[in-house]
Every structure is written in C-alpha cells, then in structure tokens.
Symmetry: C2
Amino acid sequence: MEQLKVDLGSRSYPIFIGSGLISAADCFAPYVRGRDVMIVSNETVAPLYLEKLEKTLSGFNVHSVILKDGEQYKNLDGIESIITALLRNDAGRDVTLVALGGGVVGDMTGFAAACYQRGVDFIQCATTLLAHVDSSVGGKTGVNHPLGKNMIGAFHQPKSVVIDTDTLRTLDRRQLSAGLAEVIKYGIMWDSDFFRFLEDSMDSIMSLDEESLVRTIKTCCSIKAEVVHEDERESGVRALLNLGHTFGHAIECHEGYGVWLHGEGVAAGMVCAARVAVYLGRMSEDEFRRITALLERASLPVQVPADMNYDIFYENMIHDKKVRNGRIRYVIPDGIGHAGVLDDIPAELVSRAIEDLRKKC
Amino acid sequence: MEQLKVDLGSRSYPIFIGSGLISAADCFAPYVRGRDVMIVSNETVAPLYLEKLEKTLSGFNVHSVILKDGEQYKNLDGIESIITALLRNDAGRDVTLVALGGGVVGDMTGFAAACYQRGVDFIQCATTLLAHVDSSVGGKTGVNHPLGKNMIGAFHQPKSVVIDTDTLRTLDRRQLSAGLAEVIKYGIMWDSDFFRFLEDSMDSIMSLDEESLVRTIKTCCSIKAEVVHEDERESGVRALLNLGHTFGHAIECHEGYGVWLHGEGVAAGMVCAARVAVYLGRMSEDEFRRITALLERASLPVQVPADMNYDIFYENMIHDKKVRNGRIRYVIPDGIGHAGVLDDIPAELVSRAIEDLRKKC
C-alpha cells in the first residue's frame, strides 16, 4: 500500500493507494467520527462493492443510499435524496458519509456532507480512474445546474481518500479512458517527465498492469496534493488543473450531461487549448501531435462535436467559474509540462482553433 | 447610526443599526467585491424597499430575484431559482448577493451565496425584527427539508449586516411579535438585566419607540456577536442561542412550515423549556410566570398545539441538529439570565411539561 498526505493544516488527510483496500478497515475506521456511517453509491458500483465495504465497516451502524448512475443525475434532487436517507435514519452531526463510486458519486456525497446539518465528515472511496487521480482529492464538491456544470457546490475536504486499484478491473473501458484524460492532463500542465512516462507506458496502463497503474495514480495524486496544498480555494495555481475543462464543460453542457463523459470532454478540450497554444506560439506542431497521439492511444476524442461552433462554445463557456468581469480565462499550455491562465486571447483565434477541430459531418 | 463588529479574524464584519440605512451607500458599497450585485428579496418586501436599495447601489450592475414569501418556500427549489437568476445574468465569482428581507430571505440568500460557484460574498439587509436581532448575524444559512428544519445549510458569514430600523414601521404586527420571541430569548438565556429592561419597556417597544428599539436591537446583536465570536460553528456556548428552538422547530415542522411563524414556535418552545426547568428545580414558579407574562405582552403563544403530545414532539425533535448518539440535547434555562445544555432529562418529565402546556381543545 502506498500512502500520501494532503497537507492542509487541521484539514490534512491521507490518500491510501493499493490493491484490496476496500477491505482494509485501517483506511476507514480511524476516520469515522461517531457510530453512524452512510455509504453513498450508485446502481452500477453498489452490486460490485457495497457488500464488501459494509463488511469492512461492520463495527459501525451502517446504512446506504444508492443513486442512479450518470452525470445527468448530478443535481440538487440527488442531494435531497441523500439528505432524506440521512434524516430517515436519524443521522446526527456525528455521522460520516462514505462515497463509494466515481467522480459523480464523490462530488455529490461531498456536497451532501458539506450541507447536511451545515457540515459533517466524509470519506472518499474512489472506484474509477478519474476519481482515483483527480476528483477524490482536493475537496471540490458540488452538482450541476442546467445552465452550467458544477455551479452549485462547496469546498469540503474528505477525512481520508481510499483508492483500491482492484476497482479498475471491473471498470468499463470507456470510463478507464475518461480517467486517462485527467492523467494525461497532469503531464501536459505540470510534468513533462510524467508525460514521457505515459508515452512509454500507455500500452501497459491500458492492459491494467498493476505497477504502471500504481505509479500513474501516485504521481497524479502527488501533483494534485501539491497544488491543493499551495492553493486550496483556487485563487491561483489550482486553476491550472482546469486545463481542458472550460472547453470540455461547454461540450458536456451543450451535448447534454452524460452524453460525453467528463474525461472525454476534457480530452477534446485539451486539444482545443493545445491548438490555441500553437497559434500563440506557445507550443510546436510536434508537441501538439504528441498530445493528440497520446490521447488517441488512450481511446479519447481529439475533435469537438460537429454541431458546436465558436458561438455555441462561447455561450456555454461564459458561465465558467474562471470568468472575471465577463472575460473568459483560458488555461493554455506552454509546451508540454507547463501551463498558464490567459484572459486576453482574441476570439478569432479561439474560433479558428475550434474550426480546425470540428468533426466533419 | 450605531455600529458593532462581529470579530472573526479575517471573516470579521460590521453591523450597522439605525434609521434610513437602506439609503446609506456606505453600509453597502465598501462590501461589494466586483461590479455585479444580485438583490434577493420576496414579494412582500420588494414593493416596499427594492427600488430604494437599487438606487443606493446604482453605481453597480444590479439585478434582482423575487422569491415567494413564507417559510414553506425555504427549500432547495428556492436555492435553485436564485442560482438560475445568477447564471442567467452571467454572474461570476465576484458577484455580491444582497439579502433584502427577513430570516427566510437571509437564510436562503446566504446559502445560495455559500454554494454558488463554491462560495461568493453576500450582505444582509434585514427588514424584520427577527432578522435584525438574530438571523442576519452569525453566518448560519440554509433551507428546510420536509423531515426537518434547517437541515441543509452552511456556515457562511456576511460581509456586512445593515439594520434599517425604519423597516419595522412597515412590518406586520404578527411578524414584530415573532421577532420579540428571539429578543426575549436573549434575556432568558444570557442577560437578566436585559430581561428586566424588556419588562419595563415592552409597551414602548410594541409602540415602536425608536430609542427602545435601537437599544433592544443593539443589545441583542451585541450578545449574538459575543457568542458567535466565542463559538462560530456551535461546538459549545452557541448552542444556548437555540433556547426554545428544539421544541419550536418540532411545532413548525409538525404544523406545516409557515403555519406557525418561527418566532411563535420559539416562544412556545421557551415556555416548554422553562416548564422543564421548573420541574428540574432550576427555575422558580415566579420566574416561570415572569417569562410567560412577558411573552404574552408581546402577543406571543405560551401554549403548544392541542394536537401535539410528547410522542409527536419526540418524532420531530429526534432530527434536531443537537442530537448526539440518539439523545436529544435540550437547552434549559437556569433561572432568568442563564441556560445550559442537558442531555439526560427523563422523557416523563418532558412529557409532563408538554401536557401542562397543551392547548385545551
């Protein structure tokens, strides 16, 4: 088992990475405050792992609530249903929620924990690659609004993050690829050595080689922990983690939540950002090709939907949380291994990048 | 104009108290972060004060959203409608919300501000006595769930609190009385001198004498600021501010939100707590009579609904946020001027107090 720490003073917490951890009581029990535990999962993950986790937590008074699976259910109604389950089971302020699932389950469980009785504890038990490397760490929680993704939420840090790598063996291939978009993101925005490691190792990662998986997850979590430690509430460097997300959220929102997976949107979004970087002279054509090639090896989209021109992107991006005084702030890579936030990119240039990348009908 | 301060380090903020403050730009403008302001009000208050406040804020880009009036609309749907208005107006993270209304508007606006894009600023402009003396100060925000009051929320402190005493001149008499329940609460749980002042001054308060009103509001806000400074997140002394609320919430919830006003529930709830105190030997019959007499002079209920026996109270109280390990923790006065939290009161004793106070059909 590997262990990392997210260092946030009194809100610090461990990240456990390894095989079989859903059965490791030590990763959970010390982080449960009272007697009551509410596991939140979804109808895909619960049949696979709920019973196992309930057994691990058998010393506690355990209840569970099962949500529908999909980004389209990540809304306030879902939060209300978690709160209803808590109230029906007379859960007090000392209840601990456990998110058993991917990014959607984690974001919703975290937000329900942030809001229930004005804040209770929660633990992330992440079962998708995307949750392993990104969403389970850092305390961003929330739900979507029909007019914008993650528009309703809170910063609420978990008490521990448990990453059982065995869960990747039951993960849908499309979900695995979606997670790899966030993995590749760390290489582009932060760590060129890691990008090269991914170029060397993509085949073994795709075939679920344990050593490659653990090294990949550990590297991503280390970068995320470092960035979150420096800037918990995203007033600076943390914004770089949104590489590809401004364009990606626009695709997710316009195509309908759940049609494109979040990671798929991020992949196409990173290609948009990289294309803009080429036009700005911040990236060579060769680097651009390395990025698209790696994404394609991970079975990820490298084009934007045929029905989305610049105007449609703009309409969906203007609600982005990075917008300031009506200006869209884009995260744009600087070669491979660095990125910056730019708020003065000419619309024509963004439009040209999008046109380059539109799928031909 | 009187000014107090809630001292919470980097989250400190001023409370302004006086006549005509809705028109005082200095109470608002320095606390608005960006260009965008969203005023949240309701259909009762907006026709009276919205235009005036918009004029005060005319240097900003001001929008407004008008909610329905009443506790029964204090729910997640209301939060979603505020968020929709923010998104429709392309509000970014630098928007400032202004709550123009009473406790319900303030709680909802504060919670919407806590959640929108994971947290934006807000200002409390309180227009009811209850909001003046209690709900606008201290950062408790949230909404109700059908199974329990204020079960979904956040601690989120305002940037300033503006109390325009003129608003009491347009306030419904029943709402004025509801606010007086919270006023009398401070006397019972914290300050016997203030309780005596209220006994001396209730007639001039009820006739809206400016000097008595300002002294009353200022005293209540001072006590609240002191308590919140000591215990922002209610791990200790702040719980005493819930005197009467455990019983009161049960009445509100069982009778249907909006049927009993919050302050009316608190009044009857304080009588329950005082009756229990008498049985526990913590209060004399004479002190009990002084409490009910003062509440009655403020036109407040001193009995509980005829249809609520102990079992019904219990069912509605077990979701109270003060419950720990399944035990209800009651705030019980200790004479007049002090109170404590007790978790070992025999059910029979609480039941006897409730039976004493049930309205005869």
